[in-house]
Symmetry: C2
Subunit: 125 residues, 2 copies
């Protein structure tokens, strides 16, 4: 974290920062079971099969998601799970994103610099 403290923008993990992957991670982490079917993710995040596959590959390479086939009878489905490491790393990413937004928002309105605590409450309290 030393690097990201000196340059907060370095703390933005690129695996999560891409908008569609951010949407995928937010969808997964917001699901109580921490998993969704491929079809649910595709529809929830407004992605094509190919795009979702590509983004999931990036997230899998980052250790953030894992896959399994749905058990039981019926047409098998791919189930995408958020890993524990992915959960933790995404929370860290959100903290880094909040920090960057705070800095950029403060820079954007120097006339109200004293108000730069606009995003005061941390993501991780």
């Amino acid at each position: 974290m030393t690097k990201s403290q000196s340059n907060p923008y370095e703390g933005l993990q690129r695996a999560f920062h891409e908008p569609k992957r951010l949407a995928i991670m937010a969808a997964l982490i917001g699901t109580p079971s921490q998993e969704m079917t491929f079809t649910e993710l595709k529809e929830g995040c407004d992605l094509t099969d190919g795009n979702l596959n590509r983004h999931l590959k990036t997230l899998e390479d980052a250790g953030a998601v894992a896959f399994r086939r749905s058990p039981g009878p019926g047409r098998p489905q791919t189930i995408v799970s958020l890993t524990k490491g992915g959960h933790r790393a995404f929370l860290e990413y959100l903290v880094a994103l909040e920090e960057v937004l705070k800095i950029a928002a403060a820079a954007a309105k120097p006339q109200t610099a004293s108000d730069s605590g606009a995003l005061a409450k941390p993501v991780r309290a």
Copy 2:
């Protein structure tokens, strides 16, 4: 904005979302004159000549920055200016980013969903 309202992640303009370009835009918007020399930007954002050139090209293509040569005597320098359109678009980006962060942060802690107003104060009041 209709699209970004239905899917807030679509509101994240890619020209600004890349971490280094986000750093460049925040540096420029935080400077009272809204302009910096190439060298100041390079050092301030921890970039090489080649990387800064590449990112500035993307920002120029988006209409967010413009270039001029320093006037007067002495070694000429490239001065990078934030355009009015770039200023406005970056503020819009920050609002979109705050919205996405709010959604993702709320998803990440469903146990305290009633606290999802953590990032209550808008960037643009």
